[in-house]
Structures are given as C-alpha cells and as structure tokens.
C-alpha cells in the first residue's frame, strides 16, 4: 500500500513514517505542503493520504478539497492529522470529505486503527 504523508514539519513526517514502518507500511512518500502533495498525488496513485492541516501555501483542508474535487482521485482515503482540535475544524474536515481525523498528539494505536478503518 502506497501512502503519502504531508506535513510542513520534517520531524513530524519522520515520526509518522516511523510509525507507519512499525505498523508494516513500507511504501511511504512525503510532501512538505499541500501544493507539493497535490503534484505528487496527480503524478502517482496513492492508496492513502495522511495530511497535516496548518501548512502554507496550501493547507491540508484545501488539499483535501482539491483531492475530493478531482475526477479520478476523488475517492482516495484521506486522514487529517492535526493539532487543530476545535469542533468547527472537525466539522469542516468532515464536510470536505475527510475519511478520518486524528488529533495531535496521538498514539501509534490510534493511527493504526484509523488507517484500518479507512482502507477496510
């Protein structure tokens, strides 16, 4: 399974990649923001996108909307992983089509469970 991890904080990308490796997902690519991620998503088919919210120049929410609006990529599972934990954020992500929403800080078990729920 090919996974794209999107976060502007390289350490966070490394942490998520490490957790994915421990869970058993070895095919992982990284992007530093929404624009970079969108380019990669259009060039390569990913089975799952795990994205931060608060990034420039394109936020995770805008990336999600772009993916959901795309004719062929629209159904790609998309997990938002963010410190944005207010109700309006969660609702906005759900309305935009997020498959799951994980609040930072999180555990490996939470990530594993959310991935299992979206790829089932």
């Amino acid at each position: 399974m090919k996974i794209l991890v999107v976060d502007d904080y390289s350490t966070m990308r490394r942490i998520v990649r490490n957790l994915l490796d421990q869970i058993g997902y070895k095919e992982v690519e990284e992007a530093g923001n929404g624009v970079e991620a969108l380019e990669k998503i259009k060039a390569t088919r990913f089975d799952l996108v795990i994205s931060d919210w608060n990034m420039e120049p394109m936020t995770g929410l805008d990336l999600l909307k772009e993916v959901r609006g795309h004719a062929t990529l629209g159904k790609t599972p998309f997990i938002m992983v963010t410190a944005e934990s207010k109700t309006e954020n969660v609702i906005a992500a759900k309305q935009a089509g997020a498959s799951q929403y994980i609040v930072k800080p999180f555990t490996a078990e939470t990530l594993k469970a959310k991935i299992a729920s979206v790829i089932a």
Partner: protein, 156 residues
C-alpha cells in the same frame, strides 16, 4: 504639562530592558528561535535512538542477530540516550519562562503608560486580525479543543 511630560518620559525609560534575571525584550525572538532549534535537535536525537533500538530489537525478534548480547546492550544504550535527550525540555522550559517574564514586564509597563496618558480602552483601535479561518493551532480543552474520542463521535 511639564510634569506630565516628565512622568511620560520616566515611564518610557522604565520600558527599557532590565538587567538581571530576565532577558531583554529584543532578545525574546532570538531566545524562542533557540528553543525551536533545541527542540528540533532533541527530537531528531530521540528519533535516531528509537530507530537504533527498533533495528536491534527487530534483529533479535527475527532471530537474525549475530550477537544477541550486543543487540540487547544497543537497545539499552538507545533507551538511555533517549532519556538523556529529554533533558532539552528542562532547558527550553527555562528559556520560555524568561521570555514570558519579559513579556509580562512589558505588558505592565505599557499598561502604566496608557493609564498615565489617560487613554481609555475605547480609544484603542486595534487592527483587524488577518483572515486565517480555522487556523487556530493547538487548543486546550478549556479553549474548546476536542479529545480524540469526541472527534470520533463527530465523525460517527
């Protein structure tokens, strides 16, 4: 008028950086940059040591270790290094507290100056915050932040 100008001058002078236990205000930004750097370095060190321990544990688990005692020692050494790296929290905490102290002092002095000049709160015009919808950053429970369980409930 002359007395008021003198008092205002004294108030402005008192806003100048103090020597002693606190930092100078203009150093606050630099101090926070140092905190970011120290935190990043500590995190990378912790990640490096964790990956080192995971690799040794994986060899032992898979039965491919050529020296089990050495691999066990590696796991233990990595764990110790992780604990040592966590010392950064104490150091960065102290730096942040210094910045907070400097900001509180500045806030008190600005409040004194505002009172001295007879400025009412209604006179203060604040610039409209930049449009950053839904970009609040981390929120505590008191600030309306949700725990994972509540998020799961919203997602159904």
């Amino acid at each position: 008028m002359s007395r008021m100008l003198a008092e205002t001058r004294s108030a402005i002078i008192s806003m100048a950086p103090q020597s002693g236990g606190t930092i100078r205000l203009h150093e606050a930004g630099e101090t926070l940059d140092v905190v970011v750097g120290e935190t990043e370095r500590a995190t990378l060190e912790i990640m490096h040591q964790a990956e080192r321990a995971q690799a040794a544990a994986a060899r032992l688990h898979a039965g491919t270790s050529t020296d089990a005692a050495a691999d066990l020692s590696e796991v233990n050494e990595a764990a110790t290094a992780i604990v040592m790296a966590c010392i950064f929290q104490d150091i960065t905490g102290q730096r942040i507290r210094k910045v907070m102290t400097a900001l509180r002092e500045m806030e008190d002095r600005v409040a004194s100056l505002v009172a001295l000049l007879g400025i009412e709160s209604g006179d203060l015009v604040t610039a409209a915050p930049a449009e950053t919808p839904l970009m609040n950053g981390p929120s505590s429970a008191a600030e309306g932040g949700l725990q994972q369980g509540a998020v799961d409930d919203l997602f159904g």
